[in-house]
């Protein structure tokens, strides 16, 4: 997509002058910018696929009773929506940003392991083709929920081995991506770029990458055990053979809780770049941001059982996981405080990235507070598996992670393409999104508190109004993302020329490069003072 000018590369003519032409450029590329672009476009495509599934779910829930799809297909939609959004949209989008930005932010010529980088991207289209193909095979796709709890998930038909293999491939891709990020950050920094001078996006990604290599293999182990339970007669989770289905929940959430931080820590990094830029002040409390991120990552390993308070744990266990979970509010609170303190008495302007960043701070905090409510074990017995949980994690994932990705796209798109996006359309997209997302998810809190269970295609009559409101919000939010697609395409194809610095408050090595940056950057490392 970038039309890198070969003229800028003339000083190292023993290398390529620019990208190869045609399809081969994308298939064989080892360039971090190309791979970043591929990741971002792939995740955008998956965002629309997963979003379409969400609209099927919301359309069915517009009214009580069965209207549009049969329950089995509805369950496939909830399961696939989650798997695609988690592994196909949010995670690859952050990896795409890491590819584009980390080398430019630390003054490295490319990622540390460029060939592996190509491979870790190109596994993904195959993994998701495999996963999506299960919708068309006899018996349909997985329908037991993305958490894959046995024994229910073992009733999946012929799709089961396909799903497991797809998850293995996604895991391999993420692990390779994470190893690459760690090697790049630890070995490829420009001279003078000490760890505590690194931009926060780099810091948060370093910690995220360590989470990834620690927990993705655990998920791989868990799904392997499911596979052998179903086909090879083992009894890891089969009570008849002396196993225990609850064990799966422990293993899954040992992966699952760090996983939710994998989807939010890079977002914290992004917001920590955007707010200082548009408040025209340095970030408040840089060091505390680094320590808070590390604390959150550490705590994520010792709170997993708060997802399963209702399985019948001893009181001591419940109390431990309850207090450990509540403790996470402290470093998270430090972060929110720092963002607000950065804005305090800043010369703020409200371009689209800043609007998304401010909405992130407010709406993510709402999601954090409902999380705090859920962490209270006696209350959780009431909230467990209701729409309150659905509202909670969608608040942290949609106006949390996804808004940070939108903010990042608007913030760095001028740098990547060399063109300014259409600010008016960007603001329209922001307001439609922020209004839509609240109409969509806020009523789900009330539905949950009133007792509506999650993952059901039909519901009792008293839940009708809030479900209708929620569905209206879903269509506003979903359709307004088409506007985002339009803005991105428009910006790639043309628009006002972006300056090198793009935003007058922007600080960091990537803003010293031209917009768009040449195909190869920092082949000679910059000096960082």
């Amino acid at each position: 997509m970038s039309t890198a000018s070969p003229a800028l590369d003339h000083d190292h003519d023993h290398e390529h002058h620019g990208p190869a032409r045609g399809l081969k450029r994308w298939l064989l590329t080892t360039n971090h910018k190309d791979i970043g672009t591929l990741y971002l476009l792939f995740s955008l495509a998956m965002f629309f696929v997963g979003g379409a599934m969400a609209l099927v779910i919301r359309a069915e829930l517009f009214q009580p009773g069965m209207q549009i799809v049969d329950p089995h297909f509805f369950n496939q939609m909830t399961t696939m929506h989650a798997l695609i959004m988690v592994f196909g949209a949010v995670m690859p989008a952050f990896v795409g940003l890491a590819n584009w930005l980390i080398p430019m932010m630390i003054g490295a010529p490319d990622m540390a392991l460029p060939r592996m980088n190509n491979w870790s991207f190109w596994i993904l289209p195959f993994a998701f083709t495999l996963l999506l193909s299960t919708l068309f095979i006899p018996g349909g796709g997985p329908a037991g929920g993305w958490t894959l709890y046995p024994p229910l998930v073992l009733q999946t038909g012929q799709a089961f081995p396909f799903v497991i293999l797809a998850i293995h491939m996604m895991g391999v891709s993420s692990i390779m991506g994470a190893i690459n990020v760690i090697a790049t950050i630890l070995n490829m920094r420009a001279p003078g770029m000490t760890l505590m001078k690194m931009p926060l996006f780099v810091w948060t990604w370093l910690i995220t990458a360590f989470l990834l290599i620690a927990v993705m293999p655990v998920l791989a182990g868990a799904v392997t055990m499911l596979l052998t339970d179903k086909y090879f007669g083992t009894s890891f989770f089969n009570a008849a053979g002396g196993g225990d289905p609850v064990l799966f929940q422990h293993i899954f959430w040992f992966f699952g809780h760090p996983e939710v931080y994998i989807m939010i820590l890079p977002a914290f990094g992004i917001i920590s770049h955007i707010i200082p830029t548009f408040a025209r002040k340095p970030l408040f409390g840089y060091a505390s941001m680094v320590y808070a991120t590390a604390s959150i990552a550490f705590l994520s390993f010792i709170v997993w059982a708060h997802h399963m308070f209702t399985v019948g744990m001893p009181l001591a266990g419940i109390l431990f996981f309850m207090y450990a979970t509540m403790l996470i509010a402290v470093p998270t609170g430090v972060k929110v405080f720092n963002w607000v303190a950065t804005m305090w008495r800043g010369s703020m302007t409200f371009e689209t990235p800043m609007l998304f960043a401010i909405a992130f701070v407010i709406l993510f905090t709402i999601g954090g507070f409902s999380g705090l409510m859920l962490s209270i074990a006696p209350a959780d017995f009431q909230y467990h598996d209701t729409y309150f949980v659905v509202a909670h994690f969608h608040y942290v994932l949609v106006p949390g992670s996804v808004f940070s990705l939108m903010a990042a796209a608007y913030y760095w798109l001028p740098k990547w393409t060399g063109h300014m996006y259409n600010e008016t359309l960007g603001k329209v997209h922001f307001w439609l999104s922020v209004i839509g997302v609240n109409i969509l998810f806020f009523p789900q809190h009330f539905l949950g508190l009133a007792g509506m269970p999650r993952r059901i295609p039909d519901y009792a009559l008293q839940f009708t109004q809030f479900n209708m409101i929620s569905t209206v919000g879903a269509f506003i939010f979903g359709l307004s993302q088409l506007l985002f697609l339009y803005i991105v395409i428009q910006t790639i194809r043309g628009g006002a020329k972006a300056t090198d610095q793009v935003w007058d408050g922007a600080k960091g090595l990537e803003w010293t490069l031209s917009s768009p940056p040449p195909y190869h950057t920092f082949t000679t490392a910059p000096e960082v003072k």
């Binding site: 760690i182 009570a239 293993i251 399985v311 019948g312 001893p314």
Partner: protein, 184 residues
Amino acid sequence: MQDPTTNPVAAANRRLTKRLLLVTVAMFGFGFAMVPLYEVLCEVTGLNGRTGSQAAVLEPGMAVDESRTVTVEFVASLNSGAPWEFAPQVTRMTVHPGQFYQMNYHAQNLTGQTLAGQAVPSVAPGPAARHFQKIECFCFTRQVFQPGEGRDMPVIFRLDPDLAPDVRTVTLSYTFFKLDDAGG
């Protein structure tokens, strides 16, 4: 760029990659290590309502606590599609901790084939599980049923007098699984 074999950064990258791959493999192993760890933890703490799958040892002179009574409830359930009729003959008993009691579960094979099954016990509330001792239980062995056969299967049990005094009701639940079918 320099030749990767002599470039110190490339060498450092290779070294780090190997170490990180080792971490990955170790964490894959850790996922499996959680299985025995969990087993041990459940056995030790009685977590999850696990009761021993071994017979308790009968010792002479075990004390009986006549001063209080505990209600024991009996529950039976069949794993999905198991072709049995399965029910306790009494659904509740009032017992003194320390004393031995016997009760029967009745099971009948509803098919025309010989079937084998296994009952898996669970005790609620979880902390009481350690104090529920079974001297004789049909759950210790696999049970074979001839076509149409029905029979009573005994459980001889005793509650440990150390059972916490605030526990007034203990529920013993059996789930009956069909064997020979690895999928369960």
